[in-house]
Symmetry: C2
Subunit: 197 residues, 2 copies
Amino acid sequence: MIQEKKAQPLLDYIRRFVTLTHEEETIVLSSVKYRKYLKGQYIVQQGDVCKYSSFILSGCTKTFYVDDKGQEHIIMFAIEDWWTSDIGSFITQTSADYNVQCLETTETIQFSYYAQEELLQKVPKLERLFRMMLERAFVASQKRIVRNFSLTAKEQYLHFKEQYPEIEQRIPQYMIASYLGITKEFLSKIKSQLASE
Amino acid sequence: MIQEKKAQPLLDYIRRFVTLTHEEETIVLSSVKYRKYLKGQYIVQQGDVCKYSSFILSGCTKTFYVDDKGQEHIIMFAIEDWWTSDIGSFITQTSADYNVQCLETTETIQFSYYAQEELLQKVPKLERLFRMMLERAFVASQKRIVRNFSLTAKEQYLHFKEQYPEIEQRIPQYMIASYLGITKEFLSKIKSQLASE
DNA sequence: AAATAATGTTAAACTAGATTAACTTTTATT
DNA sequence: AATAAAAGTTAATCTAGTTTAACATTATTT
């Protein structure tokens, strides 16, 4: 059982969506595990089954895909108060398409697939929490598709900077380029263009 | 109250995720409305609040976004047994970013925002249904982002044909080009290349 | 059957962004 | 402080996909 103090950010997060009794909160805390990763370690590896859905207490991760040509494509970043996993692998318990790697020392609270299923039986209110989280995630994902289609690389970069100023500070530029789907050289060009404007 | 016969595809769909009692099924049917749209009509219009989440009994829709330059970008198609709406607008009841237009005469079963909230109170099991639907939708959306980044236009077209052969038949090519994020001219070139291989 | 609108094709000129490669700056390690 | 490794820059060349524009084919309407 995780200490309530450590789990405070998770409880705060949950409260934004549903109201749990103290007893229900206790059940949640008894279903999860605390785990700390070092910089460079993998939470999920392409090919493995994704066993956990992880809530981030501190640190930063990137989720990426290595394609047939060996190219790395960053799908998302995650920082404090975000969730990360390979959901496709997690929900079907089949091998993961993506890697989740820590870019900093990262503290997490983890829900295992089976613990989560059991937890949802015991605290059905959490179905609502997950439903609402997924609604938001899906909407954000759709919006990203639209941006990909309708904005130039420069516009996408400006949008990223505006939407995630904290992430932009913490992460090397070449990873931001990968997230935007452009090369690091081209992002560099965009930045020098912006600087001279 | 919708006739049980008409709602059969919806009930079958729900049964793939959760098991409802007959009484619960009746509550579901009493919360929804049947509505038929003609070809060309809009289920949702950019700027309006999206009032309904629609399950498609027959027909076909496109969801698209018109950008600042007046360009239309198709985000998704939907056919029988799929759901369509502007989820972002639906869940927050704020104005929609997207249009949903019928490409054929389209019969739907619709959940209004308020009816759905009420329904979820009465039949909490449905939270699980929606959670699972959204998991799948989110995974599919993420995969599309990855394909956008890692496949050429030709590869994406082949993937589309393979994954949605029925849709490819029913829809004009220029809309498929829009869905893939390329021009109709370039799709035409790809097709002639493929034909001469 | 003719006319119109919608859809699809071809080809030339163009451009956003990729590739390659050499170089500079910053950060981490000894 | 010196060295190595990681991250970022610049510039020339290249290419996948766009734009423009004219034309061809297929549906739809009268």
